[in-house]
Subunit: 238 residues, 2 copies
Amino acid sequence: MAGNRSAVDRDAPGHRLSGILFDAYGTLFDVYSLGSLAEELFPRHGAALATLWREKQIDYSRLRTLCDRYVDFLTITKDALLHSCARLRLDLSEEKCQRLLGEYVRLPAYPDVLPALQRLRAHGIPLAILSNGSPEMLGSAIAYAGMSELFTYILSADQVHKFKTAPEVYQLGIEAFDCPAGHLVFVSSNGWDACCATWFGYRTFWVNRAGDPVERLGVLPTGEARNMNDLFGFLGLG
Amino acid sequence: MAGNRSAVDRDAPGHRLSGILFDAYGTLFDVYSLGSLAEELFPRHGAALATLWREKQIDYSRLRTLCDRYVDFLTITKDALLHSCARLRLDLSEEKCQRLLGEYVRLPAYPDVLPALQRLRAHGIPLAILSNGSPEMLGSAIAYAGMSELFTYILSADQVHKFKTAPEVYQLGIEAFDCPAGHLVFVSSNGWDACCATWFGYRTFWVNRAGDPVERLGVLPTGEARNMNDLFGFLGLG
């Protein structure tokens, strides 16, 4: 029955669904889980390090894109870690650095992710990842999470040497699926990512895991929920 | 004597100095001073609000530039305030909003700023502001700080409808002075601004007021100090 309704909704005018694009870090994979290892390596500073590391990673991706000085996301991730440790006055040995970076290919998926992806696939909906991560980082993390069979496309910012929220990165989705942006849904836990993808033309679903207020950018994600379970209602797959 | 040495150094090969460009917010004007009013309006939350407000202001300027969705800096500043108050669960009335935004045209200059600018002018060096701020915001703040006579050019990101660190914004400096980037010095307290201006081609001086570690972007500011007093040594004006 769900399958039937899905087929109807997917072809309804204005809601034709050719596929779903997922952001990776923070959306599928819990980047803040790095705080546990960070806490083990730097007692009482784990949470602060995980938060600042993520902020600087995003900062550097935007600054390098604005200035057209691309390097891959693993390099940015390492640079962000080095800066964050310096800022927090934490002594980062090469061994600790490698252990923290190594976690990036072993990030746990949020518990709602795998069941949701499997259910979407059961509905026959093609899925893809559209991420700032480099192909190697993404490939390893997806394999480690047991998701390799679920995605039709793994789309990386590395293909255009720019990071989100440059339109060229979002463009990868419509090129892969060869369809208008409005026929694709883009899912991200990052409010800014969902907003900017909406500007690009995607129908967007903001997985607002932290319960944050919406970004004030003059544009709203098409849909919003606290986890992926409500994605089915949004898609009319109730 | 200082004047003579200045004249010599300004024409030395590779160090010809046609003018100095200053970032405004954080460099000339203390944006964190807003914390005092914020603390008065929201007891125990002033510092957190001032910090988050500034972070979101920078975020929004970058996101809008990456997505080519320009609005002026005052709009971004208000949007950032609204989001920050929502995030911190602070009830921002229209009156409190207007009081906080109104502070932006009455920001105090850091104590080292006015003496340094006057001394540079006494050396005959043309000065300019190169800022994300809208012309109205900058004009009011500069007049309030008694600096109106000191600047040859007030260059605003509004002229190109992009914010830093887009090269088009830095380009405004060389167009105004009609000289190569290497003949100008760009001064900013924002490490990322100093780094990206270095990429653009300026000689840069990072006024590292907070004593932060350098940004890990693969480029370093040409010079660095804790306040503007050391700018004279950097310029060879001892």
